[in-house]
Protein backbone atom coordinates (compact mmCIF):
# COMPACT_ATOMS: atom_id res chain seq x y z
CA UNK A 1 0.00 0.00 0.00
CA UNK A 2 2.70 2.44 0.98
CA UNK A 3 4.77 1.63 -2.09
CA UNK A 4 1.92 2.34 -4.42
CA UNK A 5 1.35 5.76 -2.87
CA UNK A 6 4.98 6.73 -3.43
CA UNK A 7 4.83 5.71 -7.04
CA UNK A 8 1.68 7.72 -7.51
CA UNK A 9 3.40 10.69 -5.94
CA UNK A 10 6.35 10.39 -8.29
CA UNK A 11 4.02 10.17 -11.24
CA UNK A 12 2.13 13.29 -10.24
CA UNK A 13 5.40 15.08 -9.60
CA UNK A 14 6.75 14.24 -13.04
CA UNK A 15 3.50 15.46 -14.55
CA UNK A 16 3.82 18.74 -12.72
CA UNK A 17 7.40 19.07 -13.87
CA UNK A 18 6.44 18.49 -17.48
CA UNK A 19 3.66 21.06 -17.23
CA UNK A 20 6.00 23.61 -15.71
CA UNK A 21 8.72 22.91 -18.23
CA UNK A 22 6.35 23.38 -21.14
CA UNK A 23 4.89 26.51 -19.62
CA UNK A 24 8.30 28.04 -19.17
CA UNK A 25 9.64 26.98 -22.56
CA UNK A 26 6.64 28.39 -24.39
CA UNK A 27 6.96 31.55 -22.31
CA UNK A 28 3.45 31.05 -21.01
CA UNK A 29 5.02 31.75 -17.64
CA UNK A 30 7.14 34.86 -17.37
CA UNK A 31 10.67 34.82 -16.03
CA UNK A 32 9.47 36.57 -12.94
CA UNK A 33 6.82 33.92 -12.33
CA UNK A 34 9.39 31.21 -12.93
CA UNK A 35 11.57 32.70 -10.24
CA UNK A 36 8.62 32.74 -7.86
CA UNK A 37 7.85 29.10 -8.60
CA UNK A 38 11.44 28.08 -7.95
CA UNK A 39 11.42 30.13 -4.78
CA UNK A 40 8.27 28.34 -3.67
CA UNK A 41 9.95 24.97 -4.12
CA UNK A 42 12.88 26.21 -2.07
CA UNK A 43 10.54 27.38 0.67
CA UNK A 44 8.96 23.93 0.63
CA UNK A 45 12.24 22.16 1.33
CA UNK A 46 13.31 24.57 4.07
CA UNK A 47 9.90 24.41 5.75
CA UNK A 48 10.04 20.63 5.49
CA UNK A 49 13.24 20.79 7.50
CA UNK A 50 11.56 22.80 10.22
CA UNK A 51 8.61 20.44 10.13
CA UNK A 52 10.96 17.56 10.90
CA UNK A 53 12.45 19.44 13.82
CA UNK A 54 9.33 21.01 15.23
CA UNK A 55 6.27 19.43 13.65
CA UNK A 56 7.34 15.83 14.16
CA UNK A 57 9.81 15.94 17.02
CA UNK A 58 8.37 18.89 18.92
CA UNK A 59 11.63 20.86 19.21
CA UNK A 60 10.73 24.54 19.05
CA UNK A 61 13.43 26.21 17.00
CA UNK A 62 13.34 29.95 16.40
CA UNK A 63 16.64 29.94 14.52
CA UNK A 64 15.87 27.87 11.43
CA UNK A 65 16.60 30.74 9.04
CA UNK A 66 20.16 30.83 10.35
CA UNK A 67 20.77 27.38 8.86
CA UNK A 68 19.11 28.49 5.64
CA UNK A 69 21.61 31.35 5.61
CA UNK A 70 24.58 29.14 6.41
CA UNK A 71 23.73 26.97 3.42
CA UNK A 72 23.28 29.99 1.19
CA UNK A 73 26.54 31.68 2.13
CA UNK A 74 28.50 28.40 2.09
CA UNK A 75 27.29 27.62 -1.39
CA UNK A 76 28.08 31.12 -2.65
CA UNK A 77 31.57 31.11 -1.14
CA UNK A 78 32.51 27.66 -2.40
CA UNK A 79 31.29 28.39 -5.92
CA UNK A 80 33.14 31.68 -5.93
CA UNK A 81 36.38 30.10 -4.72
CA UNK A 82 36.19 27.09 -7.03
CA UNK A 83 34.89 29.22 -9.88
CA UNK A 84 31.86 27.06 -10.44
CA UNK A 85 29.29 28.36 -12.84
CA UNK A 86 27.75 25.31 -14.45
CA UNK A 87 25.03 23.00 -13.31
CA UNK A 88 27.04 19.77 -13.20
CA UNK A 89 29.57 21.05 -10.73
CA UNK A 90 26.83 22.76 -8.82
CA UNK A 91 25.04 19.57 -7.84
CA UNK A 92 27.66 18.35 -5.35
CA UNK A 93 27.91 21.89 -3.94
CA UNK A 94 24.23 21.81 -3.08
CA UNK A 95 24.79 18.66 -1.07
CA UNK A 96 27.92 20.05 0.55
CA UNK A 97 26.08 23.22 1.59
CA UNK A 98 23.44 21.06 3.17
CA UNK A 99 26.12 19.09 4.97
CA UNK A 100 27.72 22.29 6.28
CA UNK A 101 24.39 23.43 7.69
CA UNK A 102 23.77 19.99 9.06
CA UNK A 103 27.16 19.92 10.71
CA UNK A 104 26.65 23.30 12.37
CA UNK A 105 23.26 21.99 13.43
CA UNK A 106 25.04 19.02 14.97
CA UNK A 107 27.43 21.21 16.95
CA UNK A 108 24.66 23.49 18.18
CA UNK A 109 22.21 20.67 18.71
CA UNK A 110 24.31 18.70 21.14
CA UNK A 111 24.12 21.30 23.91
CA UNK A 112 20.93 23.05 22.93
CA UNK A 113 18.57 20.11 22.48
CA UNK A 114 18.96 19.28 26.15
CA UNK A 115 16.82 22.30 26.85
CA UNK A 116 13.07 22.34 27.02
CA UNK A 117 10.51 24.54 25.27
CA UNK A 118 11.13 28.11 26.37
CA UNK A 119 14.84 27.76 26.88
CA UNK A 120 15.21 25.98 23.57
CA UNK A 121 13.33 28.86 21.96
CA UNK A 122 15.66 31.45 23.44
CA UNK A 123 18.75 29.40 22.65
CA UNK A 124 17.80 28.94 19.01
CA UNK A 125 16.72 32.57 18.78
CA UNK A 126 20.06 33.51 20.26
CA UNK A 127 21.89 31.37 17.76
CA UNK A 128 19.99 33.10 14.99
CA UNK A 129 21.10 36.46 16.34
CA UNK A 130 24.69 35.22 16.56
CA UNK A 131 24.64 34.16 12.92
CA UNK A 132 23.08 37.46 11.92
CA UNK A 133 25.81 39.37 13.76
CA UNK A 134 28.42 37.10 12.21
CA UNK A 135 27.09 37.69 8.70
CA UNK A 136 26.83 41.44 9.29
CA UNK A 137 30.47 41.48 10.28
CA UNK A 138 31.58 38.93 7.73
CA UNK A 139 33.50 41.46 5.69
CA UNK A 140 36.09 41.48 8.44
CA UNK A 141 36.92 37.92 7.46
CA UNK A 142 36.67 38.33 3.73
CA UNK A 143 35.56 41.26 1.69
CA UNK A 144 33.87 38.78 -0.60
CA UNK A 145 31.25 38.04 2.02
CA UNK A 146 30.16 41.64 1.96
CA UNK A 147 29.14 42.05 5.60
CA UNK A 148 26.14 44.29 5.94
CA UNK A 149 26.50 45.35 2.33
CA UNK A 150 25.58 41.89 1.23
CA UNK A 151 27.18 39.23 -0.93
CA UNK A 152 26.98 40.17 -4.58
CA UNK A 153 27.87 38.58 -7.88
CA UNK A 154 26.78 35.03 -7.16
CA UNK A 155 26.51 33.03 -10.38
CA UNK A 156 22.98 32.19 -11.41
CA UNK A 157 22.91 28.43 -11.72
CA UNK A 158 19.63 27.38 -10.16
CA UNK A 159 17.08 26.22 -12.68
CA UNK A 160 13.83 24.29 -12.75
CA UNK A 161 15.37 20.84 -13.14
CA UNK A 162 17.84 21.08 -10.33
CA UNK A 163 15.38 22.66 -7.93
CA UNK A 164 12.46 20.42 -8.71
CA UNK A 165 14.28 17.12 -8.66
CA UNK A 166 16.53 17.87 -5.70
CA UNK A 167 13.53 18.81 -3.63
CA UNK A 168 11.48 15.90 -4.93
CA UNK A 169 14.18 13.42 -3.98
CA UNK A 170 14.55 15.01 -0.56
CA UNK A 171 10.80 14.90 0.00
CA UNK A 172 10.75 11.20 -0.88
CA UNK A 173 13.65 10.49 1.45
CA UNK A 174 11.91 12.42 4.20
CA UNK A 175 8.73 10.44 3.67
CA UNK A 176 10.76 7.25 3.96
CA UNK A 177 12.32 8.49 7.16
CA UNK A 178 8.98 9.43 8.64
CA UNK A 179 7.52 6.06 7.74
CA UNK A 180 10.34 4.20 9.40
CA UNK A 181 11.04 3.25 13.00
CA UNK A 182 12.97 6.53 13.31
CA UNK A 183 9.96 8.53 12.28
CA UNK A 184 7.88 6.78 14.89
CA UNK A 185 10.47 7.52 17.56
CA UNK A 186 10.36 11.21 16.63
CA UNK A 187 6.62 11.16 17.15
CA UNK A 188 6.89 9.37 20.48
CA UNK A 189 9.52 11.86 21.58
CA UNK A 190 7.16 14.70 20.81
CA UNK A 191 4.48 12.91 22.77
CA UNK A 192 6.49 11.88 25.84
CA UNK A 193 10.29 11.95 26.03
CA UNK A 194 10.48 10.12 29.32
CA UNK A 195 8.30 7.24 28.20
CA UNK A 196 10.32 7.00 24.97
CA UNK A 197 13.48 6.79 27.02
CA UNK A 198 11.98 4.02 29.12
CA UNK A 199 11.66 1.93 25.97
CA UNK A 200 15.40 1.93 25.47
CA UNK A 201 15.52 4.66 22.85
CA UNK A 202 18.32 7.22 22.97
CA UNK A 203 16.19 10.35 22.95
CA UNK A 204 19.11 12.75 22.67
CA UNK A 205 20.42 10.95 19.60
CA UNK A 206 17.01 10.93 17.94
CA UNK A 207 16.45 14.62 18.58
CA UNK A 208 19.84 15.32 17.11
CA UNK A 209 18.97 13.21 14.09
CA UNK A 210 15.84 15.26 13.45
CA UNK A 211 17.62 18.53 14.07
CA UNK A 212 20.59 17.76 11.82
CA UNK A 213 18.30 16.48 9.06
CA UNK A 214 16.17 19.60 9.30
CA UNK A 215 19.23 21.83 9.16
CA UNK A 216 20.55 19.86 6.18
CA UNK A 217 17.30 20.51 4.31
CA UNK A 218 17.51 24.20 5.20
CA UNK A 219 21.08 24.32 3.92
CA UNK A 220 20.12 22.75 0.62
CA UNK A 221 17.34 25.30 0.27
CA UNK A 222 19.79 28.06 1.05
CA UNK A 223 22.19 26.90 -1.63
CA UNK A 224 19.46 26.81 -4.27
CA UNK A 225 18.31 30.24 -3.12
CA UNK A 226 21.74 31.82 -3.33
CA UNK A 227 22.19 30.84 -6.94
CA UNK A 228 18.67 31.86 -7.87
CA UNK A 229 18.59 35.41 -6.55
CA UNK A 230 22.39 35.89 -6.89
CA UNK A 231 22.46 38.32 -3.99
CA UNK A 232 22.54 37.56 -0.26
CA UNK A 233 21.96 39.94 2.60
CA UNK A 234 22.12 39.07 6.31
CA UNK A 235 18.64 40.48 6.82
CA UNK A 236 17.25 37.69 4.61
CA UNK A 237 18.14 35.21 7.31
CA UNK A 238 16.99 36.81 10.54
CA UNK A 239 14.36 36.03 13.15
CA UNK A 240 11.54 37.28 10.93
CA UNK A 241 12.51 34.72 8.31
CA UNK A 242 12.57 32.02 10.97
CA UNK A 243 9.10 33.05 11.95
CA UNK A 244 8.00 32.87 8.31
CA UNK A 245 8.96 29.20 8.22
CA UNK A 246 7.42 28.62 11.62
CA UNK A 247 4.14 30.09 10.45
CA UNK A 248 4.14 27.83 7.40
CA UNK A 249 4.77 24.73 9.51
CA UNK A 250 2.19 25.68 12.10
CA UNK A 251 -0.52 26.64 9.68
CA UNK A 252 0.20 23.83 7.26
CA UNK A 253 0.06 21.27 9.98
CA UNK A 254 2.73 19.98 12.26
CA UNK A 255 3.74 16.55 11.21
CA UNK A 256 2.09 16.75 7.84
CA UNK A 257 4.28 16.76 4.76
CA UNK A 258 1.47 17.55 2.38
CA UNK A 259 0.32 20.30 4.69
CA UNK A 260 3.76 21.88 4.57
CA UNK A 261 3.79 21.75 0.78
CA UNK A 262 0.37 23.32 0.49
CA UNK A 263 1.07 25.95 3.11
CA UNK A 264 4.35 26.91 1.42
CA UNK A 265 2.61 27.37 -1.91
CA UNK A 266 -0.18 29.39 -0.33
CA UNK A 267 2.26 31.45 1.66
CA UNK A 268 4.51 32.47 -1.21
CA UNK A 269 1.49 32.87 -3.43
CA UNK A 270 -0.16 35.15 -0.92
CA UNK A 271 2.90 37.31 -0.34
CA UNK A 272 3.74 37.63 -4.01
CA UNK A 273 0.12 38.09 -4.95
CA UNK A 274 -0.25 40.89 -2.46
CA UNK A 275 3.01 42.44 -3.58
CA UNK A 276 1.62 42.83 -7.06
CA UNK A 277 -1.76 44.12 -6.15
CA UNK A 278 -1.15 46.27 -3.14
CA UNK A 279 0.90 49.43 -2.74
CA UNK A 280 4.11 48.94 -0.78
CA UNK A 281 2.84 50.32 2.52
CA UNK A 282 0.36 47.50 2.68
CA UNK A 283 3.12 44.90 2.52
CA UNK A 284 4.20 45.85 6.01
CA UNK A 285 0.64 45.33 7.07
CA UNK A 286 1.19 41.60 6.65
CA UNK A 287 3.19 41.59 9.86
CA UNK A 288 0.12 42.87 11.61
CA UNK A 289 -2.08 40.18 10.12
CA UNK A 290 0.32 37.24 10.48
CA UNK A 291 0.66 37.42 14.27
CA UNK A 292 -3.10 37.68 14.63
CA UNK A 293 -3.48 34.62 12.41
CA UNK A 294 -0.90 32.82 14.51
CA UNK A 295 -2.65 33.65 17.75
CA UNK A 296 -6.03 32.62 16.42
CA UNK A 297 -4.57 29.35 15.13
CA UNK A 298 -3.10 28.67 18.55
CA UNK A 299 -6.42 29.23 20.20
CA UNK A 300 -8.56 27.28 17.81
CA UNK A 301 -6.47 24.69 15.98
CA UNK A 302 -3.02 24.46 17.54
CA UNK A 303 -2.05 21.37 15.57
CA UNK A 304 -2.38 23.29 12.32
CA UNK A 305 -5.09 24.20 9.89
CA UNK A 306 -4.77 21.18 7.65
CA UNK A 307 -4.52 18.49 10.25
CA UNK A 308 -7.01 16.42 12.22
CA UNK A 309 -7.62 17.34 15.85
CA UNK A 310 -5.47 15.23 18.14
CA UNK A 311 -6.15 13.93 21.64
CA UNK A 312 -4.85 16.19 24.41
Amino acid sequence: MKIKASNLLILIAILIYVLLKVAIATEFISEYLEQIILYTIIVIVVSLGLNLIYGYTGQFSLGHAAFYGIGAYSSAIICKILNIEDIYHFVPIIIISGVVSGFVGYLIGIPVLRLKDDFLAIATLGFGVLIRVFLDNSDRISDLLGGSRGFVGIPKITNLEITFFTVLILILLTINLINSRYGLFLKTIKSDELATSSLGIDVAKMKLLAFVSGCFLAGVGGSLYAHLYTFLHPSNFDILKSIDFLVIVIIGGMGSISGTVIASILWVGLIEGLRNFLPTEWMDFRWVIIPVLLIITMMLKPEGLFVKRSVR
Binding site: D117, D118, G126, V133, N137, V288
Partner: protein
Protein backbone atom coordinates in the same frame (compact mmCIF):
# COMPACT_ATOMS: atom_id res chain seq x y z
CA UNK B 1 43.34 55.43 24.77
CA UNK B 2 42.44 52.74 27.29
CA UNK B 3 43.35 54.35 30.53
CA UNK B 4 41.97 53.45 33.92
CA UNK B 5 39.72 56.46 33.62
CA UNK B 6 38.20 55.12 30.46
CA UNK B 7 37.65 51.72 32.03
CA UNK B 8 36.04 53.19 35.11
CA UNK B 9 33.81 55.36 32.98
CA UNK B 10 32.70 52.31 31.06
CA UNK B 11 31.92 50.57 34.32
CA UNK B 12 29.65 53.46 35.22
CA UNK B 13 27.98 53.27 31.83
CA UNK B 14 27.68 49.52 32.12
CA UNK B 15 25.99 49.79 35.49
CA UNK B 16 23.50 52.25 34.02
CA UNK B 17 22.64 50.00 31.12
CA UNK B 18 22.67 47.00 33.42
CA UNK B 19 20.22 48.69 35.75
CA UNK B 20 17.70 49.04 32.97
CA UNK B 21 18.20 45.43 31.92
CA UNK B 22 17.83 44.44 35.56
CA UNK B 23 14.46 46.11 35.89
CA UNK B 24 13.17 44.47 32.75
CA UNK B 25 14.64 41.15 33.85
CA UNK B 26 12.77 41.41 37.14
CA UNK B 27 9.50 41.48 35.24
CA UNK B 28 10.49 38.49 33.11
CA UNK B 29 11.66 36.43 36.02
CA UNK B 30 8.52 37.16 38.00
CA UNK B 31 6.17 36.12 35.23
CA UNK B 32 8.30 33.09 34.47
CA UNK B 33 8.39 32.14 38.11
CA UNK B 34 4.61 32.15 38.32
CA UNK B 35 3.57 30.97 34.86
CA UNK B 36 6.65 29.23 33.45
CA UNK B 37 6.19 31.44 30.39
CA UNK B 38 8.67 33.65 28.56
CA UNK B 39 6.55 36.70 27.98
CA UNK B 40 7.96 37.77 24.63
CA UNK B 41 5.71 40.81 24.72
CA UNK B 42 7.46 42.11 27.83
CA UNK B 43 10.00 43.99 25.73
CA UNK B 44 7.17 45.69 23.90
CA UNK B 45 5.54 46.83 27.12
CA UNK B 46 8.94 48.36 27.89
CA UNK B 47 8.71 50.15 24.54
CA UNK B 48 5.23 51.37 25.35
CA UNK B 49 6.55 52.79 28.60
CA UNK B 50 9.02 54.90 26.69
CA UNK B 51 6.35 56.05 24.25
CA UNK B 52 3.77 56.84 26.94
CA UNK B 53 6.15 58.98 28.93
CA UNK B 54 7.42 60.69 25.79
CA UNK B 55 3.96 61.68 24.66
CA UNK B 56 2.77 62.67 28.10
CA UNK B 57 5.70 65.00 28.61
CA UNK B 58 6.28 66.35 25.14
CA UNK B 59 2.86 66.37 23.55
CA UNK B 60 0.62 66.83 26.55
CA UNK B 61 3.01 68.75 28.75
CA UNK B 62 2.52 66.75 31.89
CA UNK B 63 5.05 67.37 34.63
CA UNK B 64 7.69 64.66 34.97
CA UNK B 65 6.48 62.97 38.11
CA UNK B 66 2.85 62.79 36.98
CA UNK B 67 3.91 61.46 33.60
CA UNK B 68 6.00 58.74 35.22
CA UNK B 69 3.19 57.64 37.49
CA UNK B 70 0.64 57.62 34.67
CA UNK B 71 3.02 55.71 32.43
CA UNK B 72 3.74 53.04 34.98
CA UNK B 73 0.03 52.58 35.59
CA UNK B 74 -0.60 52.54 31.85
CA UNK B 75 1.94 49.82 31.11
CA UNK B 76 0.67 47.80 34.04
CA UNK B 77 -2.78 47.88 32.52
CA UNK B 78 -1.46 46.96 29.07
CA UNK B 79 0.32 43.93 30.52
CA UNK B 80 -2.83 42.99 32.38
CA UNK B 81 -4.87 43.18 29.19
CA UNK B 82 -2.35 41.13 27.22
CA UNK B 83 -2.61 38.38 29.79
CA UNK B 84 -6.38 38.46 29.88
CA UNK B 85 -6.84 38.48 26.11
CA UNK B 86 -4.02 36.36 24.77
CA UNK B 87 -2.57 34.18 27.51
CA UNK B 88 -5.44 33.28 29.77
CA UNK B 89 -7.45 31.41 27.10
CA UNK B 90 -4.42 29.21 26.57
CA UNK B 91 -3.59 28.57 30.16
CA UNK B 92 -4.11 24.85 29.86
CA UNK B 93 -2.75 24.52 26.36
CA UNK B 94 0.68 23.03 25.67
CA UNK B 95 3.53 25.35 26.48
CA UNK B 96 4.49 25.83 22.84
CA UNK B 97 1.12 27.32 21.94
CA UNK B 98 1.59 29.91 24.64
CA UNK B 99 5.10 30.69 23.44
CA UNK B 100 3.95 31.16 19.87
CA UNK B 101 1.10 33.36 21.06
CA UNK B 102 3.54 35.48 23.04
CA UNK B 103 5.68 35.89 19.93
CA UNK B 104 2.53 36.79 18.04
CA UNK B 105 1.51 39.45 20.56
CA UNK B 106 4.97 40.95 20.43
CA UNK B 107 5.03 41.14 16.63
CA UNK B 108 1.52 42.48 16.54
CA UNK B 109 2.32 45.33 18.92
CA UNK B 110 5.50 46.26 17.10
CA UNK B 111 4.18 46.19 13.58
CA UNK B 112 0.84 47.80 14.28
CA UNK B 113 2.53 50.71 15.97
CA UNK B 114 5.09 50.93 13.18
CA UNK B 115 2.42 51.63 10.61
CA UNK B 116 2.51 55.11 9.17
CA UNK B 117 -0.81 56.00 10.67
CA UNK B 118 0.62 55.43 14.10
CA UNK B 119 4.19 55.99 15.12
CA UNK B 120 6.02 54.93 11.92
CA UNK B 121 9.17 52.83 12.18
CA UNK B 122 11.35 55.90 12.59
CA UNK B 123 13.34 57.03 15.56
CA UNK B 124 11.91 59.94 17.52
CA UNK B 125 14.22 62.12 19.54
CA UNK B 126 13.31 62.62 23.15
CA UNK B 127 14.26 65.92 24.72
CA UNK B 128 14.95 65.30 28.37
CA UNK B 129 12.56 67.06 30.72
CA UNK B 130 15.33 68.07 33.09
CA UNK B 131 18.88 69.21 33.08
CA UNK B 132 21.72 66.75 33.02
CA UNK B 133 24.15 67.40 35.84
CA UNK B 134 27.54 65.81 35.93
CA UNK B 135 29.59 65.03 39.02
CA UNK B 136 33.26 64.33 38.74
CA UNK B 137 34.74 61.51 40.73
CA UNK B 138 38.50 61.33 40.47
CA UNK B 139 38.97 60.32 36.87
CA UNK B 140 35.44 59.52 35.75
CA UNK B 141 32.15 61.33 35.91
CA UNK B 142 28.73 60.30 37.03
CA UNK B 143 25.61 62.10 35.91
CA UNK B 144 22.39 62.54 37.80
CA UNK B 145 20.89 60.19 35.25
CA UNK B 146 23.32 57.42 36.17
CA UNK B 147 22.48 57.83 39.81
CA UNK B 148 18.75 58.08 39.27
CA UNK B 149 18.59 54.93 37.19
CA UNK B 150 20.75 52.92 39.53
CA UNK B 151 18.76 54.00 42.57
CA UNK B 152 15.49 53.22 40.82
CA UNK B 153 16.65 49.71 40.15
CA UNK B 154 17.78 49.08 43.69
CA UNK B 155 14.57 50.54 45.03
CA UNK B 156 12.52 48.35 42.68
CA UNK B 157 14.43 45.30 43.80
CA UNK B 158 13.80 46.09 47.46
CA UNK B 159 10.12 46.81 46.89
CA UNK B 160 9.72 43.61 44.94
CA UNK B 161 11.48 41.68 47.66
CA UNK B 162 9.13 43.12 50.21
CA UNK B 163 6.16 42.31 48.02
CA UNK B 164 7.10 38.72 47.37
CA UNK B 165 8.36 37.74 50.78
CA UNK B 166 6.37 39.90 53.15
CA UNK B 167 2.90 40.16 51.74
CA UNK B 168 0.00 37.77 51.32
CA UNK B 169 -0.10 38.31 47.57
CA UNK B 170 3.58 37.51 47.40
CA UNK B 171 3.06 34.30 49.31
CA UNK B 172 0.30 33.36 46.90
CA UNK B 173 2.62 34.07 43.98
CA UNK B 174 5.26 31.81 45.44
CA UNK B 175 2.70 29.10 46.06
CA UNK B 176 1.50 29.21 42.47
CA UNK B 177 5.08 29.14 41.28
CA UNK B 178 5.63 25.88 43.16
CA UNK B 179 2.44 24.09 42.30
CA UNK B 180 -0.44 25.79 40.55
CA UNK B 181 -2.95 23.03 41.09
CA UNK B 182 -2.38 22.70 44.80
CA UNK B 183 -2.39 26.46 45.24
CA UNK B 184 -5.81 26.56 43.63
CA UNK B 185 -7.00 23.79 45.91
CA UNK B 186 -5.80 25.80 48.88
CA UNK B 187 -8.21 28.53 47.94
CA UNK B 188 -5.84 30.88 46.16
CA UNK B 189 -7.52 32.72 43.32
CA UNK B 190 -5.16 31.83 40.53
CA UNK B 191 -6.61 34.28 38.01
CA UNK B 192 -6.28 37.22 40.37
CA UNK B 193 -2.75 36.45 41.40
CA UNK B 194 -1.64 35.93 37.83
CA UNK B 195 -3.26 39.22 36.84
CA UNK B 196 -1.53 40.85 39.76
CA UNK B 197 1.81 39.43 38.64
CA UNK B 198 1.33 40.86 35.18
CA UNK B 199 0.35 44.24 36.62
CA UNK B 200 3.59 44.39 38.58
CA UNK B 201 5.59 43.05 35.65
CA UNK B 202 4.04 45.60 33.32
CA UNK B 203 4.77 48.41 35.75
CA UNK B 204 8.40 47.33 35.96
CA UNK B 205 8.68 47.14 32.19
CA UNK B 206 7.19 50.58 31.91
CA UNK B 207 9.62 51.94 34.46
CA UNK B 208 12.42 50.35 32.49
CA UNK B 209 11.19 52.09 29.36
CA UNK B 210 11.14 55.43 31.13
CA UNK B 211 14.65 55.01 32.50
CA UNK B 212 16.02 53.77 29.19
CA UNK B 213 14.63 56.70 27.25
CA UNK B 214 16.01 59.13 29.78
CA UNK B 215 19.43 57.57 29.38
CA UNK B 216 19.28 57.07 25.62
CA UNK B 217 16.80 59.67 24.44
CA UNK B 218 15.62 58.14 21.21
CA UNK B 219 12.50 56.07 21.01
CA UNK B 220 11.47 53.68 18.31
CA UNK B 221 8.74 51.12 17.92
CA UNK B 222 11.25 48.27 17.76
CA UNK B 223 13.35 49.47 20.68
CA UNK B 224 12.04 46.76 22.93
CA UNK B 225 13.19 43.80 20.88
CA UNK B 226 16.86 43.61 21.75
CA UNK B 227 16.63 44.88 25.33
CA UNK B 228 13.78 42.44 25.84
CA UNK B 229 15.76 39.44 24.64
CA UNK B 230 18.90 40.55 26.45
CA UNK B 231 17.00 41.05 29.67
CA UNK B 232 15.64 37.59 29.39
CA UNK B 233 19.18 36.32 28.95
CA UNK B 234 20.03 38.29 32.08
CA UNK B 235 17.22 36.57 33.95
CA UNK B 236 18.46 33.18 32.77
CA UNK B 237 22.03 34.00 33.76
CA UNK B 238 20.96 34.90 37.24
CA UNK B 239 18.73 31.92 37.60
CA UNK B 240 15.25 32.13 36.18
CA UNK B 241 12.65 32.76 38.83
CA UNK B 242 15.16 34.22 41.27
CA UNK B 243 14.78 37.95 41.83
CA UNK B 244 18.24 38.94 42.94
CA UNK B 245 19.54 36.72 40.16
CA UNK B 246 17.70 38.83 37.61
CA UNK B 247 19.29 42.00 38.93
CA UNK B 248 22.78 40.54 39.03
CA UNK B 249 22.25 39.09 35.57
CA UNK B 250 21.17 42.48 34.33
CA UNK B 251 24.36 44.10 35.57
CA UNK B 252 26.49 41.36 34.05
CA UNK B 253 24.84 41.77 30.66
CA UNK B 254 24.98 45.55 30.81
CA UNK B 255 28.65 45.61 31.70
CA UNK B 256 29.51 42.97 29.10
CA UNK B 257 27.72 44.89 26.40
CA UNK B 258 29.33 48.22 27.23
CA UNK B 259 32.79 46.72 27.47
CA UNK B 260 32.55 44.84 24.20
CA UNK B 261 31.24 47.98 22.56
CA UNK B 262 34.02 50.09 23.98
CA UNK B 263 36.96 47.75 23.48
CA UNK B 264 36.03 45.59 20.53
CA UNK B 265 33.34 46.90 18.27
CA UNK B 266 29.82 48.09 18.75
CA UNK B 267 28.59 45.83 15.97
CA UNK B 268 29.64 42.79 17.97
CA UNK B 269 27.84 43.69 21.16
CA UNK B 270 24.65 41.78 20.46
CA UNK B 271 26.67 38.71 19.62
CA UNK B 272 28.54 38.65 22.89
CA UNK B 273 25.33 38.54 24.89
CA UNK B 274 24.27 35.36 23.19
CA UNK B 275 27.70 33.88 23.46
CA UNK B 276 27.35 34.39 27.20
CA UNK B 277 23.93 32.77 27.06
CA UNK B 278 25.30 29.72 25.29
CA UNK B 279 28.11 29.34 27.75
CA UNK B 280 25.71 29.51 30.66
CA UNK B 281 23.23 27.13 29.07
CA UNK B 282 26.01 24.64 28.58
CA UNK B 283 27.77 24.92 31.90
CA UNK B 284 25.25 26.25 34.36
CA UNK B 285 21.75 26.07 32.89
CA UNK B 286 20.19 26.91 36.21
CA UNK B 287 22.01 30.23 36.30
CA UNK B 288 24.01 31.67 39.14
CA UNK B 289 21.35 31.39 41.79
CA UNK B 290 18.95 28.93 40.26
CA UNK B 291 17.92 25.67 41.86
CA UNK B 292 18.53 22.27 40.34
CA UNK B 293 15.34 20.57 39.26
CA UNK B 294 15.14 16.80 38.87
CA UNK B 295 13.27 15.52 35.83
CA UNK B 296 10.63 13.04 36.94
Amino acid sequence: METTAYILQQIVNGIQLGSVYAIIALGYTMVYGVLRLINFAHGDVFMLGAFFVFYLINKFNFPLVTAVILTVCGTAIVAYLIEKIAYKPLRNAPKISLLITAVGVSLFLEYTLSLNIFFTPNYIAFPRPFEVKSYDFFVFSVTNIHIFIFLSTILSLLLLYFLIYKTKQGKAMRAISHDQQTAALMGINIDNIISFTFLIGGALAGLGGILYSIAYPQINVFMGVMPGIKSFVAAVLGGIGVIHGAVLGGFIIGLAEVFVSAFLSSTLRDGVIFLLLFIFLLLRPNGLFGKRIEKV
